[in-house]
Amino acid sequence: MDRPKVVKYTPPECVEDYPLGAFQAGHLVQKNAGWRVFRPVIDHDKCIGCLRCFLVCPDGVIDKSGEKLEIDYDFCKGCGVCAYECKVNAIRMVKEGEEADE
């Protein structure tokens, strides 16, 4: 995936450790999915790879670098826009803690 990965963050110990002026771009220090209630699950048999979900995802968590579309569950917030916009109903919203298979 052509995306920044989470890196470990060492808190500054003194004033000199704080960055002044410029700061690194694309710098993630923690995962960000704790507020999700429903998670999107892709049905790869139905998915035609039109990538509309990628276009409408506010969080940019649709990973298209592999053969199949994947969702980065470390950062998905579960808004459901992808499931609503999917033209072939290949994305379902499943409650967290429940199994995806029926």
Binding site: P4, A25, V29, D59
Partner: protein, 314 residues
Amino acid sequence: MSIKIKDVIHKESPMTQGHRMCPGCGAPTAVHQGLMGIDHPLVVINATGCLEVSTTVYPFSAWRVPWIHTAFENAGAGAAGVEAAYQALKKKGKIDKEIKFVAFGGDGGTYDIGLQSLSGALERGHDFTYICYNNQGYMNTGAQRSSATPKGANATTSPAGSVIPGKLQKPKDLTSIAAAHHIPYVAQTTLHNYMDVASKVKKAIETPGPAFVNILVPCVLFWRIDPALQGDICKKAADTRFWPIYEVIDGEWKLSYKPKKRVPVEEFLKPQGRYSHLFKGERSKALLEQAQADVEKDWEYILDRCGETWEPAE
């Protein structure tokens, strides 16, 4: 020139995952869609607002391009300064890349607080693009009304009650104000289809000289809608003519989207919690009629400017 899905789909957005915008917020979608089609190196100037505070919480940054934060009131001035420095370095031969400058501001930072610096930068003719992601209020501080808040909306500083039905004033037409600077490119759009934001932002960025794009995006907390309906509510805004989609190229007004049918504005208002007071009580009918009359009047103005006629199918 409009770009197709297949032109942008293989690209990556300059903003990564991991930002702290609310689930279903329209602003990051507008950023992703708008900047995905740009091939030039970008510098982003960000006014204070939701987009700024949630994409850059120290020590993390969701931007993968050079990014500078300015205060609420000076995104236009900040962009002008960065662009002027770039032009000076280019003249001296220290930079040979073709760099583009994009400023982002919310409607509070654009319609109200940053209007003077934006107006100044547009007038001085700096080569940059200003994108206003307009969610129609001050959402970062808790749903206060701004001068972009539509008439009748229930905001915390214009609350709907038994006497006053939400905000009393009409929003200002900032796109027309920007067009009145006679700059090369001005556009107004929303997330109503997949490629409109991408096409208009690409045009704006590639046009030499200043450009302004006003993008209506939903705020889930203020509009009180289901987060999944982000695209749907924007489509309704375009279909009910509440938010006309048009562009102004070198002073020539051009309507980009004409709805096929006459859809009443209730379709757009009904799903939103901020308008729920319009649908109950004795005054409901009069208030909705007023809302529809306002839409018709604004639509007539846009049609007149574009020199178009509109004949909806029955």
